[in-house]
Symmetry: C2
Subunit: 295 residues, 2 copies
C-alpha cells in the first residue's frame, strides 16, 4: 500500500473509533450538550498524528490492529482535552483552533472546562472496557498513559511552559525538558502503546521511546518555526502568538534557519533509530512528512 493510502486508512480507523466511543447522545439526556462539546472538538480534524503512531507501531511490529483501536482513540482524546484547556481564557486565550472557534467560544467556558475534563477520563474507561486487550496489557497501557499525561508529562510540561513566560533566562535545556514533557511524553505513549498492543519486548519499547522523544522534539521545534513563518489560513490558528506571549522558543533562541537545522538533525537521529525495525517504511515517510509540513 502506498504511504498516503496507509496514512488515510489509519486516520479513518481513528476517526471511526472516536465516533463510536463518544457517540452522539440521544437528545433526551440532559447532559447532551456536554457530549456535543466533546464531539465538536474531537471531530475538528487535525493531523491525528498520535493515533497514527499507535496503529503504525502496532502493525510494524506484527500486532493486530484491533488491539490498537482503544489506545489510538484514547490518545487522541487526551490530546483534544489538552487543546480545549490550553485554549481557555485563563491559559493561552485562543479563540480559534483548527480553523473553527475554539471549544469555549462555541460552548462557553464552563462547558469547555467540563468537556476537557470528561475527555481526560474517558480514555481510561475505554481502555479498561476494551474487548481485545487482556487485563495485563490494559494495566501497562493505563500506567504509561496516565504518567505521560500527568505531573511529569503533558500537564507538567504545560506548567513549565506557563512559568517560562515569566522568565527571561529560559535556555535550551529548559526548552528541551519542557517539550519532552509537554509534547514528547504523549508521542512516546502513542508509540509505546502500539508496541504493547503488538507484544513487543523491553528493548523494542526502549527504542520506540527514543524515537518518539526525538520526533516530539522535532515536531515542537517546527511548531515554533511555523508560529513565525506560517499563516493563519494554513494553520487554522493565529500566528505570532509566541512573540505576543513573550515565549522563549528555538526560534527566539537561535533564529529560524538554525532552528530548522536543529529540527533536521533531530529528525535524522529519529530516522536512524527506525533502522532498528524491519518494515519501518511507513514510519520513515511519516517522520519526513512531519518535518516538511507547513501546517
Amino acid at each position: 500500500m502506498e504511504f498516503k493510502e496507509k496514512l488515510d486508512s489509519y486516520i479513518s480507523l481513528a476517526e471511526d473509533s472516536l465516533k463510536v466511543y463518544n457517540a452522539h447522545s440521544d437528545n433526551n439526556k440532559p447532559q447532551s450538550g456536554l457530549i456535543d462539546a466533546m464531539n465538536y472538538s474531537l471531530e475538528a480534524g487535525g493531523k491525528r498524528v498520535r493515533p497514527v503512531l499507535v496503529y503504525s507501531f502496532c502493525e510494524m511490529l506484527g500486532g493486530d490492529l484491533r488491539k490498537a483501536k482503544a489506545p489510538a482513540a484514547a490518545i487522541e482524546m487526551i490530546h483534544t482535552f489538552s487543546l480545549i484547556h490550553d485554549d481557555l481564557p485563563a491559559m493561552d486565550d485562543d479563540d480559534f483552533r483548527r480553523g473553527r472557534p475554539s471549544c469555549h467560544k462555541a460552548y462557553g467556558e464552563a462547558m469547555a472546562i467540563l468537556a476537557g475534563d470528561a475527555l481526560s477520563v474517558l480514555p481510561f474507561e475505554i481502555i479498561a472496557d476494551d474487548n481485545e486487550l487482556d487485563a495485563a496489557e490494559k494495566v501497562r497501557i493505563i500506567s504509561y498513559l496516565a504518567k505521560a499525561v500527568g505531573r511529569d508529562g503533558m500537564i507538567g510540561g504545560q506548567v513549565i511552559d506557563m512559568e517560562n513566560e515569566e522568565r527571561t533566562d529560559v535556555d535550551e535545556a529548559n526548552l528541551r525538558n519542557m517539550y519532552r514533557c509537554k509534547t514528547g511524553q504523549l508521542i512516546a505513549a502513542s508509540c509505546v502503546m502500539g508496541c504493547i498492543c503488538a507484544g513487543a519486548d523491553a528493548d523494542v519499547i526502549r527504542t520506540a521511546e527514543e524515537y518518539a522523544f526525538r520526533l516530539g522534539l522535532a515536531f515542537q521545534i517546527i511548531d515554533d518555526i511555523l508560529d513565525v513563518t506560517g499563516t493563519q489560513e494554513n494553520l487554522g490558528k493565529p500566528v505570532g502568538s509566541d512573540e505576543e506571549e513573550n515565549k522563549t522558543t528555538f526560534v527566539t533562541l537561535y533564529g529560524v534557519a538554525r532552528a530548522q537545522e536543529i529540527a533536521s538533525a533531530i529528525t535524522s537521529e529519529a530516522m536512524t533509530l527506525l533502522e532498528q525495525f524491519d518494515n519501518s517504511g511507513f514510519l520513515k515517510q511519516l517522520t519526513e512528512m512531519l518535518l516538511k509540513r507547513t501546517k
Copy 2:
C-alpha cells in the same frame, strides 16, 4: 474499636496515602508549583467521606485494607479535582473552600485548571501501579471509577446542574437524576471499589450501590439544607449561594422541614440496606453521622 476511633484511623490512612502518592516535589523540578497546588487542595481536609467508604466496605466484607489504599486515595483525588474546577470563576466562582482561599485564589486560575487536570489522571496511574491489587481487579476498579467520573457520572451531573440554572421548570425527578450523577456516582464508586478490594460477589456489589445512591442523595439534600441554615464559619464556604445562583434544590422545592423529612426517609432506606451485611455497625454510625452533620 469505638466508632470515632475507627473513623479517625480510616481518615488518617487516607491522609497518609494522599501524601505518599503526591509527595512534595523537590524544588529543583520546574513544575513544583503544580505539585504544590495539588497538595494545597488535597491537604485542605474535608470529611474524607469517600476514602472512609472504600476502607469501611473493604473491611466490613473481610478484605485486606492494603488493597483499599490506592482506590481510597484515588477517589479523594477525583473529589478534590472536581472541587478545584467547580470553584473556578467560569463555574461556581467560589473564593473560599474549606475555610481557605480556593485553589485559583491561591495559585491563579491557569494553575488551578492544571492542578485539577493532574488530579483527574493521577488516580488511574496509582491504581494501575498498585502492588496489592491484581490486574483484573485494577481493570474493574478503573472501569467503574472512570464511568463514575465521566459523561454519565460526576461531570455529566455538573453539566445538568449548570444547565438547570437557566431553567425554571426543574422538578424532583431532574434533581434526583442530577444528584445521582453529580454526587451519587462517586459515592457508589467508593463503596463498590471497597467491595472489589474484598472480592465481593455481584449481589453484594448491587446492594452496596443501592446503599450508596441513597447515601449520596441524602448527603446532597443535607447540603441543600445547610446552604440555607448553616454559617460560613461552620461550613468553611459561603452560604446562600444556591439562592444567589437561582438553583432549584430540595429546599426551594419543598422548604427546609420537608427536605429534612425526605433526607431522613432516604437515610432510613440506606440503613435498611446495611442490614443485609454482617458487621455493618461502623457504616450505620457513619450514615447517621452524615445525616446529623451541621457542616
